[in-house]
């Protein structure tokens, strides 16, 4: 118990009695973590954008003027059973015309001449839960053609294909950048701690000379590394918290179609993740650095 007390006191003293090195290391760690956290948030936003984009994929079935409403509703129910389908919306002829009128009002160069009859067909709009299934679903729905209900299936295969390519690049690219950032943060933090420990190699040598066991030499350094990590994480998270509101509102203002709100559970996960990462990297970095110094002191 007292040994543990000694470790914490020694770690605390080591931190505060080498203020320049400690502050420099802490700032480096917080910058790295900030960068890392920023990329996590960005990646999260990207994934949300991917989901939003893919949810825009839909199939439209035009309904024959003479189709019985009961047949149409039966078809709707059948399509809804497919797991790749999120929901199916029935748009009547009247609703289709309303939409066209609304569109015409918003676009200046688009005037709707007064039309006596309604030329627009009723339709079923199929929203997909899984955009990859568009092709398969479209093919199966084409089998309905000529059975008296469906007159046409609109699926825009090239647009969907392009969209899927973009979202795939965004997902994989985001993940790759994140992995790279993780590596960079790890490397820079471990190296910073290594330099801080190396600067105190005389101290390690002296400890060994007065008969300190490896345990006694290393643990204060390991705890000090964790302290640097945790303080760095706190600074990084504080900056992130302060910046979150303005950045989010700017993002939402800029990309108003994308839902970039992150949610409380994600924020908590992020904070815990950054803190845990910093703690582990700080501790392991210090342990690794002290060990390499220790082996130089006591030849075995």
């Amino acid at each position: 118990m007292r040994r543990i007390g000694y470790v914490f006191v020694a770690a605390w003293q080591g931190f505060w009695r080498n203020p320049v090195m400690s502050v420099a290391a802490t700032l480096t760690v917080s910058l790295m973590l900030l960068l890392f956290a920023f990329f996590i948030v960005t990646d999260r936003g990207l994934q949300a954008a991917v989901v939003a984009l893919e949810s825009k994929v839909e199939l439209v079935l035009y309904i024959d003027e003479g189709a019985k409403p009961s047949d149409t509703l039966a078809l709707k129910a059948r399509i809804e059973k497919d797991p790749a389908v999120a929901r199916v919306e029935y748009v009547t002829k009247q609703q289709a015309l309303e939409r066209l009128r609304e569109l015409a009002q918003r676009k200046e160069d688009f005037t709707l001449a007064d039309i006596g009859t309604n030329p627009l067909p009723a339709s079923l709009e199929v929203k997909l839960a899984n955009a990859q299934a568009t092709g398969r679903l479209a093919a199966s729905l084409r089998e309905e053609l000529g059975r008296g209900v469906v007159t046409d299936v609109i699926d825009n295969p090239t647009v969907v294909e392009k969209l899927l390519t973009i979202t795939r690049v965004l997902s994989i690219g985001g993940l790759a950048v994140l992995a790279m950032m993780l590596f960079v943060a790890l490397f820079v933090i471990v190296n910073t701690i290594r330099i801080a420990v190396h600067a105190r190699r005389d101290e390690i040598e002296i400890m060994q000379l007065v008969g300190a066991t490896d345990w006694f030499v290393s643990w204060p350094f390991i705890v000090e590394g964790m302290l640097v990590g945790v303080l760095g994480a706190i600074v990084a998270l504080a900056v992130l918290a302060a910046a979150a509101q303005p950045v989010t509102s700017a993002m939402v203002g800029f990309l108003d179609i994308l839902p970039v709100s992150l949610g409380t559970s994600f924020v908590l996960e992020l904070a815990a993740g950054v803190l845990g990462f910093a703690l582990l990297v700080g501790g392991f970095g210090a342990s690794f650095s002290v060990r390499s110094q220790l082996s130089k002191g006591a030849r075995a």
Binding site: R2, R3, Y6, Q13, G14, R17, N18, D202, E203, E205, I206, M207, Q208, L209, V210, G211, A212, T213, F216, G297, A298, R299, A300
Partner: protein, 226 residues
């Protein structure tokens, strides 16, 4: 207390630092190690605390073969053998008390024992009034006294001093030498490497003269030069 049998030390770069050294230093003895720079004095001291391993031969301290010791036993050897260096080797971020107490804390002592023994060691070297200072706030002589207090606090059987007066003025040097002889008179084996002829000649103790890695002279009440 200390026995070297046919000890040779050759560094990886080919330098032969010690050659066929046979030496016995009894418990409670006082021995000077003299010789020019590079004669092997520092290497001999490093072998005694196992900072280096001998290339051949046996180094026995307090009945134990230092070279055959497991790495985990090295800290125990170093508590048995106190060392004082020319450059003091104090921890700059620890106060005088903490520097001395540290040597006790690492051996697993706690609380009252640490406080009392640290105070005792500081009284022996006459530095109780400086206990809260940091090494940089002390003179060279005071720093060396802190180093001696740290070496003594574990009540070692052997005290090794490697050029303990090398960085000090003559008056301060004498104070340190008086302190070290006092410690030896209380029963600690003392081995002192030095270039200070005046001190060696005045004390007339055993003198072990090293030259090019070999013992060329070993006299009971010797002088610095033959």
């Amino acid at each position: 207390m200390i026995r070297l049998e046919d000890v040779s030390k050759r560094y990886p770069n080919g330098t032969a630092a010690l050659q066929d050294v046979d030496l016995t230093i009894g418990a409670g003895e006082f021995a000077f190690l003299v010789g020019s720079s590079g004669a092997g004095k520092s290497t001999l001291i490093r072998l005694l605390i196992r900072e280096e391993l001998p290339t051949t031969g046996r180094v026995v301290v307090n009945g134990k073969d230092v070279a055959r010791m497991r790495r985990s036993q090295v800290p125990h050897l170093r508590r048995l053998v106190g060392v004082v260096f020319q450059d003091f080797k104090l921890l700059p971020t620890k106060t005088v008390t903490e520097n001395v107490a540290f040597a006790l804390v690492v051996t697993g002592h706690t609380g009252r024992v640490v406080r009392e023994e640290t105070e005792r060691a500081l009284q022996v070297v006459g530095l109780s009034h400086r206990r809260s200072h940091f090494p940089r706030e002390l003179s060279g002589g005071e720093q060396q006294r802190v180093a001696i207090a740290r070496a003594l606090v574990n009540r070692p059987r052997v005290l090794i001093a490697d050029e303990p007066t090398g960085n000090l003025d003559p008056v301060t040097s004498w104070e340190i030498i008086k302190l070290l002889t006092h410690v030896q008179e209380l029963g600690t084996t003392l081995v002192m490497a030095t270039h200070n002829a005046e001190i060696v000649n005045a004390l007339r103790r055993r003198v072990i003269h090293l030259d090019k890695g070999s013992v060329v002279r070993d006299e009971r009440e010797g002088l610095y030069a033959a």
